[in-house]
């Protein structure tokens, strides 16, 4: 049941700045569980469930995904591209991509030498082949400025699943699932944000409009459980990762403590996360207005920003539980 919804959300088209299709799908899933929902001018989907305490909790997850944007079409119909968000070029060649209108293509890169095993792809030397033989033919299918995403194959390995859109649709699905049986005396705002991958652009705007007492953001994080990774204690399957710090943000100690207490009281396994490189919407939300208290729960994920991002379904389930516990608390942290 959850997996069916997850697949649906994973397959939605939504590169940064072009998230309306994803928003539409999420809105359909959210509608039964909230009192009102709307899309703001930047494209953030905001879903409001009313409460009685007078306090506001904002749950957030970005719904945009990384991709490519067409910058030029050459005379032979090849598309030259720029990255939308943090593409890893060597891992992004020889991949299937799809445009919003359904046009399919494959990525490759310039290879002046035949079978040069040492050649490395960079964004400027990459291109997309959409099967056309001339600029004119290609322009009938794709325009400069169009964006494409990796075709998201869903790999079901049982307890663990892989997809190119796990960052961050898995967290969108988690919020939908958590809202289903949510008990809270507070006003809960579930926000699916835009443009996280291009500089945390949407979340601060939504937080400014909502002005919540507490924000809990959800995003994926890296793990230290694969061969030869830098020292990081997070592993797949050991529970939601409660963020201490990443390159963009430090979670206030009281908010960490609050999330950890929620997990411990409900016997939910959890891990403490310090991420060496990477940022998340929490940073933008903290900097809003006079400073909004914000924390982050991360889903441990391997191979982030590749077409095979792997997560563990136990972590997903435990995160849903943890969010339900968090929003059920009467007492929210009010200082660092």
């Amino acid at each position: 049941m959850f997996k069916k919804m997850l697949i649906d959300i994973l397959q939605a088209y939504g590169p940064s700045g072009n998230e309306h299709k994803t928003a539409r799908i999420l809105a359909e899933y959210m509608r039964p569980y909230c009192d009102e929902l709307w899309v703001d001018v930047l494209g953030n989907l905001i879903c409001h469930k009313k409460g009685i305490s007078g306090k506001k909790i904002m749950l957030s997850a970005h719904m945009d995904q990384i991709g490519f944007i067409v910058v030029d079409i050459d005379e032979n119909g090849f598309l030259r591209i720029a990255n939308v968000g943090g593409i890893l070029p060597p891992l992004s060649v020889a991949r299937e991509v799809v445009f919003e209108n359904g046009v399919r293509g494959v990525t490759y890169f310039e290879t002046p030498e035949t079978r040069d095993a040492k050649a490395v792809a960079t964004v400027p030397n990459m291109y997309i082949d959409i099967g056309c033989t001339s600029r004119e033919e290609a322009e009938e299918k794709v325009q400069i400025g169009d964006m494409c995403i990796f075709v998201s194959n869903y790999v079901d390995m049982g307890k663990r699943v892989a997809s190119g859109a796990m960052d961050n649709r898995v967290c969108c699905a988690i919020i939908v699932e958590a809202m289903k049986e949510m008990q809270s005396s507070h006003d809960v705002y579930a926000v699916f944000t835009v443009q996280e991958e291009v500089g945390l652009r949407g979340a601060g705007v939504a937080a400014y409009a909502i002005s919540p007492d507490l924000n809990i953001n959800l995003d994926v994080t890296l793990t230290g459980d694969t061969p030869k990774t830098p020292a990081m204690s997070v592993a797949l399957g050991k529970g939601p990762a409660i963020k201490m710090m990443d390159s963009s943000v430090i979670v206030p100690i009281a908010v960490r403590r609050f999330m950890i207490d929620c997990a411990e009281q409900a016997d939910i396994p959890y891990q403490r996360e310090v991420l060496r490189a990477g940022g998340t919407d929490t940073a933008a939300i903290q900097k809003t207005q006079k400073g909004i208290l914000a924390g982050c729960i991360s889903i441990p994920s391997r191979y982030v920003h590749t077409p095979v991002e792997v997560v563990d379904m136990d972590d997903v389930e435990n995160t849903v539980k943890l969010i339900r516990v968090i929003v059920s608390k009467e007492q929210l942290p009010d200082t660092i």
Binding site: A231, M232, S233, M245, I253, K287, G291, L293, T335
Partner: protein
Amino acid sequence: MDMLDAISCLTAKPGVTGAEQEIGQLVEQYFLTYTKDVWKDQYGNVYGRIGEKTKPEILIMAHMDEIGLMVTKIENNGMLRMINVGGVDPRVLPGSEVVVFGDKPLPGVIGAVPPHLLNKEQTDIAYRIEDLFCDIGYDGPEARKLVHVGDYITFAPKPPLQLKNGYLSCKTLDDRALIAVMLECMEYLNKRKLKCSVVFCASVQEERSGLGGIIGAYSVHPDMAIAIDVCHGSMPGVKPFETAPMDKVVLTKGSNIHEKLLKMLQDSAKAQNIPIELEIAMGPTGTDAWTMQVQRGGIPCAIVSPPLRYMHTSVETIRIDTLHACAKVISGMIGDIDENWEEALCLDD
């Protein structure tokens, strides 16, 4: 006020970015000795107002957070793996005494592989933070009882070392020395009749995101703001235009700086015969002025700095007379503000 005494107390308190509670409490106590109007915000910025709330309001900001480290992993042998919080230079870490803020403060050392056990290639490679570890003496199970991923580590605090000629060497003079300068300003300004209101703010998280500057400037919404932070002092191995003489008060000029506010500071220095040096910064200044400038529809900002050598090491070195001079330049400028302040700030002439 005894500047050396204040610096000794202020540098002794831990306050790595994101964990400024303890230093914040001390700053709050210091502020309360000069004004009753003291408050804190949600993220721990400490504010103190001198003068009745009126227009114009001037915000003076020095950050109280310090660079440090955070535990990322506890190895089975009890060694702690770390990541930097703020711009810690891994090259200066081996050989450091530290304090690990686990469930209780624990002494630790950051070790290094002895040169005897390294080959030529290894000795030539600079240390990376990922390769270093902190030794607290415990084995894995003992360490895990008291220390957790996310716990902070600081350089072990020591009293300032008094070098010759009024030079002072200590950890965290960036930017606690400037908190002491704020206290001296408060003392000066309490003796003057002011035609403005001055909010002093000891800010949080300058060393990383500038969060304290952003929310501080947003909540105070001042008519002008001055960040006071250290700049680089002259030393061997650096270019003259990257640094300033240790005995000069440095004022910044550049796109981050409001020209007229700079002029007001220059006038103050000139009137008091205090020699200044201009530092040119066309891009980000790496101070709270950078984030404050763009809040609330725009805030005129300036920067006053004392030069400091060996920034972000445990032997940051500064000259105490230069700190006094900074306090005089700032206080003089604020004391001279009168009803023509809007005209004085007007860029349109």
